[in-house]
Amino acid sequence: MTNSELDMVQVDGLTKNFTLHNQGGIKLSVLRDINLKVKGGECVVLNGPSGAGKSSLLRCLYRNYQSDSGRVLIQHDGAYVDIVSAAPRDIIAIRRHTIGYVSQFLRVIPRVSTLDVVSEPLRREGYSSEQARQQAGEMLERLNVPESLWELAPATFSGGEQQRVNIARGFIRSFPVLLLDEPTSALDAVNREVVISLIEERKKLGTAIIGIFHDEDVRERVATRLLDMAPLKDAA
């Protein structure tokens, strides 16, 4: 089976609550009984207003958030793995090889140059430093990040520049599953186009994409379908 025939991601009955112990033990419901299937080549866009839990769902899929119940099956190395119950070291392996995640904001590591930030996923794969940096440079060029910035650490970059560095890092490797959290929010039209074409290329490769796009045009262009989400009332 190719990726496009396979369910790369299968979410069953996913539920997520927050309990704020230091604020009187308030319980907040964020996700309740989410069901979703994504095949390779599809781009499912999470659709809903602010507070609907879109980001939280992506984080649950990446296991950045723990889920209270349900399953998240990811096709990894020829078998399904349930992210919700998998051991930490297996999650680390899955994040290395199978799921990529482009967060909304770049988490800046001090004093690491842009080129090194972007090339790191390749170096981890075993690419040589030169090759990794070369490919990183090509990606940055595509995203219109000027070469003068490549050796600088991104801490002082503008929001848009940081986002493009983040995107470059997220797209430098071809992951079978890609999670995108508002990748175009701070970009101008030119760069939005670049991101759209990157997404299209991945879809053709059979990547299963789940994303959040607040810009309607982008959503129209990349989505193969939408998952509607709405904010939950707090649990009693």
Binding site: F18, H21, N22, R63, N64, D77, P88, R89, A93
Partner: protein, 261 residues
């Protein structure tokens, strides 16, 4: 899973250590796998340093076991082995980076001799080769190689710490224990050192157990995190998950207490 046939590098099972009536650590169990960095975070008195000392062979627990996958004999209880074997392990397959670099260096000999010592201790007898290897390692830790013959007392804290790291890594240990490795350093120096550690862990496939009170350090270089309070592990899991979605009240308190810059 392609990792399922691998075995853990170190297994701590129910490690407990008392100081008289006072609990050092109690009932701590975890597995450390090759290439993994585990962070132990907690405030003063949490027992994190006790746990580090128990797992690194420096402090026998009163109950529980610590087993290490030795090259020769596989999983062995580190407190059952002879002192000679344990000392050999500490000099070759393990590293220990102290918070204060002076505790981990020989201040009376040059930088090159500090790095070469472990090699000489395992029987290397060619001066030229030892010196060359020491020089290579100085390069790896971004140390000015011109200073290979200088005494550690002439180096800054950050340089001393990098020298301590090089000294530990020269025998290619598979496991490095670190006790607040950036604790005493200036913030800008910390950042550089942490990045160096991050890169080395990646490049050399090191496993590490790192004790810190600084959650930012944990986020930067650890894969998994254990949060300790009053001698017990209250929460453990993937570092980013523990910090972004803390479950235990104490962890939530800890995370919410970090000042934003």
């Amino acid at each position: 899973m392609n990792q399922s046939h691998e075995a853990p590098l170190l297994t701590a099972d129910n490690v407990t250590r008392y100081y008289g009536e006072h609990v050092g650590c109690r009932g701590v169990s975890f597995d450390l796998w090759p290439g993994e960095v585990i962070g132990i975070v907690g405030e003063s008195g949490s027992g994190k340093t006790t746990l580090l000392n128990c797992t690194s062979g420096r402090l026998p627990p009163v109950s529980g076991t610590v087993q290490f996958a030795t090259r020769a004999e596989g999983l062995s209880d580190i407190y059952e082995m002879s002192e000679a074997e344990r000392r050999m392990l500490m000099r070759t397959d393990w590293g220990f980076v102290h918070q204060n670099p002076r505790d981990g260096l020989r201040m009376a000999v040059s930088a090159g001799a500090n790095i070469g010592e472990r090699l000489m201790a395992i029987g290397d007898r060619h001066y030229g080769d030892i010196r060359r290897t020491a020089g290579d390692w100085l390069g790896k830790v971004e140390f000015n190689i011109d200073r290979i013959d200088d005494m550690p007392s002439t180096f800054s804290g950050g340089m001393q710490q990098r020298l301590q790291i090089a000294r530990n890594l020269v025998t290619k240990p598979r496991l490095v224990f670190m006790d607040e490795p950036t604790g005493g350093l200036d913030v800008s120096v910390q950042a550089r050192l942490l990045d160096l550690l991050r890169v080395l862990v990646d490049e050399l496939g090191l496993s590490a157990i790192l004790v810190t009170h600084d959650l930012a350090v944990a986020r930067l270089i650890t894969h998994r995190l254990m949060v300790m309070r009053r001698g017990e592990v209250v929460e453990s899991g993937l570092t980013d998950q523990v910090l972004d979605d803390p479950q235990h009240p104490y962890t939530q308190l800890l995370v919410s207490s970090i000042l934003q810059v």
